[in-house]
Subunit: 146 residues, 4 copies
């Protein structure tokens, strides 16, 4: 099942959740939270997802995962001040990489939806390495249903 | 009374409070929240202070105030993830400007303490203008005790 | 012709160029320029592209264009200090939107390659509006060859 | 001699220079380069100053120096696009710390002027350590004249 096969802009598909607050410094000359900050919320949610769900299996949650691909649809303007909730779900588990879908919500409104390919690497060398079985198993717990 | 005449690194002097969460993107190559993010927390707390306490008196809380001077002592390293509380108090009220003291805390530990001179300006011209009496009165309510 | 039909990681397809310098503040805990900064270089190049090539046709180059979709492949780690060159080319011209392909290079090494859907909007309403013919004509001058 | 004893807003006192370009992402809702970006230019210039002038004496130029105090006067609004030049000079050399004065210019116009106290630390422990004599000697070469 891939990210196109579920409703990306609804809350029900997502299995991990992170709350982020917008900052004044996130505003752009149009008075909207800029896309760079939106992207940072997705990043924040990925780090939280690792810390909350994969810490035991992945060692240093701040290192080891490299984002190889990021794709995002910006669906609605976001204001300040405000909080958003970011949902994350695993969409694919490969040999050394895995896919995530993520979406940012205010209530039921979807602000942005993203897909990510993360590669598990050896921090020392930066090279991709096979997902260790315990990490693979932990990721399975967050695989999208369907 | 000026900012040197009260205990800047204790919580008791501050009259307005804002909570900020650190973000992964705030980390620097040393693994600490970088000083730029610390400065952004002070900015965030100033905007919140205006919105919470001065909105009625100052119109557009995102515009009109220009920081002319900012001085900060960085007292302790800050990690991620984590939340900080930022205290703000008015230290001086002038003709078109006012002084603020601010400090960032985790529990009772003071992470950084700052002093700010903010100038009230006409957004259209960018020129300093006298503080309107209602705004001056509102600022008085948050003047440091002593 | 779409972005898949030309060599996205080679310099020859791109028609507009912008130089960006990495900043110390762009570094993440791994000592690499973080993906957020990479994304900001793409943004910077889009603004430069509008200013250099479309200013006469699009009015306020800082407003009016909204990025609806952004997709990026991160291909190589980027260090500091350093400069990158960002190439931009138009890949598609629609009724109110257009597609761009972009890539970041150091010499001949491609650091990242992106695809963007930009929507022309009325800054006052935020609604999509048809590309005015002069803007459409200007975009044609930067359409990818093939 | 301290930083008050020379003309901080003129170019002649500064001995190290760094050029920075403003980015679209530096703009705030007022359409000005925000103070956080101004602060980042000062940071950028400090890192460049270490790399250009102190690399041989200070080992890892990205680590080891901790800013304990930063004070800045914002003197003029800064626009985009544009380049600034940042001047840096040593104002004081202590046992484990040293003072810097810095100023940001566009041509002869001074955009902002700052004073910094930097502490030399052991990266492993984060504790202040005495400036090694070769580093002290190198700093002397950039001590403000007077």
């Amino acid at each position: 099942m891939n990210a196109d096969q579920f409703e990306r802009t609804g809350r029900s598909a997502y299995k991990g959740w992170t709350t982020c607050a917008t900052r004044y410094g996130d505003l752009d000359p149009n008075g909207h939270v800029n896309n760079g900050a939106i992207n940072a919320f997705f990043e924040e949610a990925r780090v939280s997802f690792r810390r909350d769900n994969l810490a035991e299996q992945c060692g240093d949650v701040l290192k080891g995962f490299v984002v190889a691909h990021f794709s995002v649809d910006y669906l609605a303007a976001l204001g300040y001040p405000g909080e958003v909730e970011v949902g994350t779900v695993v969409t694919r588990i490969g040999r050394s990489s895995f896919g995530l879908a993520q979406a940012i919500f205010q209530g039921t409104a979807c602000i942005a939806a993203a897909e990510v390919v993360a590669v598990h690497t050896d921090p020392a060398t930066g090279k991709a390495v096979a997902l260790p079985p315990p990490l693979r198993d932990a990721l399975m717990d967050y695989l999208v249903s369907g």
